[in-house]
Symmetry: C2
Subunit: 295 residues, 2 copies
């Protein structure tokens, strides 16, 4: 535990962790509200509620931990909203792979991450994640991206794509002239399945190693990304959740979810990072869709 | 194409390719026969038939290819039996990772691979794969392993596990005193999910880089592994396919299949090799189960 303290940024780390928790609370509240609003004619069963499970990285040493939040609802078929604050030292096999650990293998990382798989195939799946990291260096990273499951929604000029991009652009433009262009491009490159030669969804933004030299400014941007996510996604859900769907659309959704699984297990750094740093397995793999098909 | 010829083992390569094809034919025939035998009271629809799709690694150059065989039946919910013979040169990112390519990046590989996902959760899933590889060196590799989906079948002393192990032991014992012990252990180590701290199934055998110095003997062993697979698996299917199953067992199967997906995408070398050598994507990922759950 002392190792983390020695990394510096003590007050900043506390502030960031606290923000990630409060953002988590706000998101969960908003999602539970949507569960309440869901039309019983389209969505069977009772409105879902989040269940929270705290976990620790180590039973014997203080290496941090987190709180996994999971809701299996009627509108949100499966959604995980997780916070974690972990610290310690990387083993030899990891060292050098993470920026700033070449000389000093200690790390501290705190963040919030979210993946929502919706029952209605007309409501896009979504992912959001923001984090602060301290190693020998300090940075922020994160982003948000939308994965519509139906082909006609998977175009950059589809209404949901346009409104999602617009909200993230607004957050970016308030903080850096070139942020939106750079982080949108980064997102398109990152959330891509080379073996399928296809993007995961319609994109959004992705950024990493953000260290402008002004911690407060970088933190403010990261906060705005979280807020923009909510501003972007909630209206999309409200608009789409009232649309009935067909069996064929459900089938298309389940196949699309298979691609989501492929991306997460083959390429996603967060998943790989989590599995290799003894993250809480149930939380890491809660990103997996409740049902997926490879027919 | 000349590069492959220059690697040597010309006649042996032809013999091996021919064997993998004939084994493929035998397996497909046996599986189609089981489809016919399936009791219509338990299995809806018509008996499945394999469909074969030839593919090439490159449209412009001769780099080999294969034939994907897929059956979506009533008993075999999804089964792929594939043959391929591929050759060419590894790119820089692969070189050195495969034995014998440190100095010479050319390779030739031929084999048969099979994964069967059964509709009835009481019938175990199965995997078999044998191959001959030539680089700067020459070897055989392969194996077979069984993945029962129900907990009470996932013990080494369960009847199916015992008969499966016994058939493979017989094949091993005919060729090498220590083969069974070594290759069974290798299988247990390979088909293991470290992040779950659990084995994929009940094991079987796994071997790689088999080069005793006697090509004919190594080939004969590899042939016997293929034959042992059929001898082991067909009776298990015949015995279990007549057992009715419950919804709860089906659910357990679908969750178990999720672990299968995790293994294949996170760890399986065959999958990774295929994706990185521009293998035919539909064939490589035909190992994915038709439906899987992460509830």
């Amino acid at each position: 535990m002392s190792s983390a303290v020695a990394l510096g940024f003590e007050r900043e780390r506390a502030n960031a962790s606290q923000w990630f928790r409060s953002l988590r609370d706000e998101i969960c509240k908003a999602f539970e509200q949507l569960e309440e609003e869901a039309d019983p004619k389209l969505y069977q069963g009772r409105a879902g509620r989040f269940e929270f499970t705290p976990w620790k990285r180590s039973a014997s040493e203080d290496q941090g931990g987190g709180e996994g939040g999971l809701m299996k609802g009627r509108l949100f078929e499966k959604v995980g909203v997780h916070i974690s604050t972990v610290y310690g030292e990387f083993g030899e096999n990891f060292r050098g792979e993470v920026k700033g650990t070449e000389k000093d293998s200690r790390f501290w990382a705190s963040g919030v991450s979210l993946i929502a798989h919706m029952r209605n195939p007309r409501v896009p799946a979504v992912h959001m994640n923001t984090r602060m990291v301290v190693t020998g260096e300090q940075w922020f990273g994160g982003g948000a991206d939308l994965t519509p499951t139906l082909t006609d929604q998977r175009r950059d000029d589809a209404p949901d794509a346009k409104s999602f991009h617009a909200a993230l652009k607004e957050a970016c433009d308030a903080h850096g002239k070139d942020y939106y262009e750079r982080f949108k491009k980064w997102c398109d490159e990152y959330f891509y399945l080379p073996h399928r030669k296809e993007p995961r969804g319609i994109g959004g933004i992705f950024y990493d190693h953000l260290h402008s030299g002004n911690w407060a400014e970088d933190f403010a941007f990261t906060q705005d990304v979280g807020r923009a996510f909510l501003k972007a996604y909630l209206p999309i859900v409200r608009k789409r959740m009232i649309e009935p769907w067909t069996e064929a659309e459900r089938e298309e959704q389940l196949i699309r979810r298979g691609r989501y699984v492929e991306f997460n297990l083959l390429y996603d750094r967060g998943t790989r990072f989590g599995l290799r740093t003894s993250g809480y397995i149930e939380t890491i793999l809660s990103s997996m869709p409740p049902v997926a098909k490879w027919p």
